[in-house]
Amino acid sequence: MGVFVSFLSGAVRLGTTFLYGSTGETLTEKSGHLNLGIPGIMCFGALGGCIGVSMVGSVPVLTVLVAIIFSFCFAGLLGLLYSFLTVTLRCNQNVTGLTITTFGVGCTNHFISQVNTSSFSRASTHFTNLFTFHENLGWFGELFLSYGIMVYLAIAIAILASLFLTKTKKGLYLRAVGENPATADAAGISVTAYRYVATIIGSGIAGLGGLFYIMDYLTGSWEYTIDAMGWLSIALVIFTVWKPNFGILGSFLFGGLYILANYVAVSFAMMNILKMIPFFVTIVVLIVTSIVGKKETQPPASLGLNYFREER
């Protein structure tokens, strides 16, 4: 029981990284932009957050706040660069995204060597501890209340994003822009504005995933594996068929699959097969949704295509 609960809570903690990434990417993809720069953007967000932490030091609430703001802004900046290139300059989205990833990962790995990381492990305690009373509540406490603030924030953002997309007028407009920009444009919706805002906010949210991964999941130790988390987040978007509320459970499932290898008694070799499962499952989902062809589970119809009003 104890092992199982710690496995589940571990899955939630790792999964939160994916949740940030996939919620952000879903918002972006709903506007019709396939942002393959997410891995780089998540790295950059982590870098921003770390710079914030190193500037403020280890002051309880302030550290978390500053780190989140920095992280969001850094990642949003890279998102702005991406949307400038793809929306305004109409560059190829795949190539731009991959370049942003190269650039973001390079920048992050380079500049993090110049950041003073000594205060990180102390600062990370402000991220990981939110409630202190959960220890008295047994498995319930560990499973639901043992996490840091950013886990709950991620769930809240995912629910908000889901409500935004399905229940609000602006969300409807955003989906229209992603499905058929020409029609949206004819209806008087500013395609450019929606694409810019969706990409920048989406990138900012994804950037928080990088910060969370470093400060909460790794408790302040720097590791150069954020980009792998970014690719998994993109996989998760497909897995959840572009629905952020599915993303909450989906990300915990991915997190579980990713750390499963540490909890079951298998050989080193088999661990790799277990780690393969999330990617494999994503492919299966991709194939099944494309065969079934239900409208609700399809990618946004103009995903990956730039919009130019004068083009017919």
Binding site: T102, G106, I234, A235, A269, N272, G304
Partner: protein, 371 residues
Amino acid sequence: MTNEKTVREPLFHISKRDTLPWWKCWLIRIAAVFAALVLSSLLIIVLVKKNPVELYASIFNGNFGSGTKTWLTFQDTAILLCIALAVTPAFKMKFWNIGAEGQVLAGCLASAACVFYIGSSVPNWLLLVIMTVCAILAGAIWAVIPAVFKAIFNTNETLFTLMMNYIATFLIAFFLNKWVKSGSGTLGILEDGHFPVIGDNPSLLTVLIVLFFAAAMFVYLKFSKHGYEIAVVGESVNTAKYAGINVKKVIIRTLILSGALCGITGLLLVGAINHTLTTSLAGGRGFTAIMVSWLAKFNPLYMILTAFIVVFFQKGANQLASDFPTLMTKDFGDIIVGIIFLFIIGCEFFIGYAIKFRKREKKEKTAEVTE
């Protein structure tokens, strides 16, 4: 129009251009590269606070400092070029294959597996033949799976090929753990299955093979019927259908070719260069190659140049990192490459579109800045 005074023309509007003459296109691109270089030099100067000449000497030294270094530069360029060549036909067809990384790794795995299982029991020439066949098959299979689903069910190939990369990576990790009994997961140097060395130069064979592929790919895309079909499918699937081209067949055939070439790259990495197998043999080059191919406008001959630019700065940054260890890291190369690519990607806009500014009230000035 009655309310003419209330209608305001926007400050500028964007329209599609006719094709620019080639020299204007290249002028814009060269200007973009130049701007990118200026920006990255500024960045270097600000960060390292050294005389830029000294830094450029260091970058140059990292590439051509000695005979060995020069050949390593050529070799790395060749490998990157080979992957770029592999992705080109697929990209020209607008099949967004971002799984070159996985296809190369599949080729690596197949050829290393041949050496591992039958390396000591067959003569070397036969082993090399078997390795080649297996690597080509592995790469082709890795590419053709997404292609088949794309052709039949229109499954999103970008995401599919992306996932295949990781499956290949973990598959290699799996076999490494299986093969290496100590559990360290690192395979030593494989004794068998080495490609012959021309003269004393271990890089020459790779370079020659890849140059041959570059020429062959150029001819294939430009002068063959297949190349024409690829171009038509890339321009418009519907046009291709009306013209009687079997689009599904073209997609699958092209991806087999693409994957096979990636497989050969894997073969070269294992058989001619590294003689071992790790999960990082492709080292992100599957992704970089896409940018290399894109920047060269899918022209195999320009690709030699663009691949070289990338390798030049990555090697240069490695040298900077070892010359100025406290200030530089080898990741700096990625920053410079990123900046250059972003500028070149961005400048394509000015080739494809014209910005027309609003005519001033006074009739004299008609500003067409981009002309």
